[in-house]
Symmetry: C2
Subunit: 202 residues, 2 copies
DNA sequence: ACAGATTGGCTAGCACTGCTAGGATTCCTG
DNA sequence: CAGGAATCCTAGCAGTGCTAGCCAATCTGT
């Protein structure tokens, strides 16, 4: 039994090694540089080892994406809990989100543009993923009007943020005015809120 | 001289042939199916011919993207001019945009997710591209508040639409509630508008 | 402690990609 | 009709994701 568990532990460790190596390589040189050969060299094993852990390159990217979701969730949570009011919380989360997308583009792409074989809008979605979305929900919920479906509103806000990030990162939108665009988006989502809703950060 | 012009005409025709073949193949089977070999077979020439017209596959995709922008611009214009009021126009354009993205995913991807070697937010951007953006601007301009930068507001609205399309198409957002999300986005962009602004469709 | 079964990892290779060099064939010019 | 030039194709390069099959190290039962 002990031998079995040791082997499983070593396997799990190597799996983590693969994922972190893929993430670091992608963040350093982009996903194009993450070839199976390069990745195998990085972890000092041969290519087929990768396929004994993951079904393919896509699965490795998906694993990286899940890690990235955990990071993003944490950054959004930090931003949200540090904000003073509900409008500020929404703004802080939006800024945390877009900052994440700009500062870690490879990670962002793995999470939200590539790697479609992850279940997203279902209960089977990885926990980290639901956490990240949950952070958005918690930021959006207080600004929802009566009768609004909070989930749908959150998805819409998310889409706005995602659009800003991807269009900017691909050069379709100039980087300079990002803050103003973000402010516009947030402004339109918090418009119509009575000033009395300021109380209650959590 | 006449021979020269005939050859140039034939070249231009073949170039159009390449672009339309690429577009049709992409729309039928996705961009992954558009390999240079496959495309060459489709136009009944050998591979290197492609490279005598375009710098590479990316350039071909860019040409397809420009065509797609013209299509999108026209569809948005039709929707906008058929709408009764300014709110309706914004909604109609938004719906035309997202419908385009869903009905012609390959074309949409060439325009807004791949093919980054096109100049976008500059005066050197292709005419079709500026036309498409111009349609958005014309729909957004009437709902802009005093002091709003219409360009920035349009970019923000665009980002919202783009986010909805891409997240939905990649399976991150369920398709069912698309109409509701779109309505939410439009609603938040037209909020705060006095009811008196209804007049003046063009 | 030793033969045998089993697991594990590696070497080599497949089918494919975008792209290019060089030769052959066709075409126009004098 | 010969010479020259433009055009197009065959063949190949370096790289991709992924896999089959062998070889060696490891664990098992006696």
């Amino acid at each position: 039994m002990s031998i079995q568990t040791r082997r499983e532990r070593e396997r799990a460790e190597r799996e983590r090694l693969i994922v972190t190596a893929a993430r670091e390589l992608a963040e350093a040189e982009g996903w194009d540089a993450v070839t199976t050969r390069r990745l195998a060299a990085e972890i000092e094993y041969s290519q087929p080892v990768l396929y004994s852990h993951f079904k393919g390159k896509g699965a490795i990217m998906a694993a990286v994406a899940v890690q990235g979701c955990a990071d993003l969730a944490q950054e959004m949570r930090t931003a949200r809990t540090a904000a003073k009011g509900v409008r500020e919380a929404l703004a802080a989360v939006g800024e945390a989100y877009t900052t994440f997308g700009r500062r870690r583009p490879a990670l962002y792409d793995a999470m939200f543009t590539h790697a479609v074989d992850l279940p997203f809008a279902t209960p089977e979605a990885p926990a980290a993923l639901q956490e990240a979305f949950g952070e958005l929900v918690q930021a959006v919920e207080p600004i929802a009007a009566r009768g609004d479906d909070v989930g749908l509103l959150t998805e819409t806000y998310w889409a706005g943020l995602h659009g800003l990030v991807t269009l900017m990162r691909s050069g379709r939108l100039p980087e300079e005015a990002h803050e103003q665009r973000l402010a516009l988006l947030i402004g339109h989502f918090t418009a119509g809120m009575g000033a009395g809703a300021e109380t209650g950060t959590d």
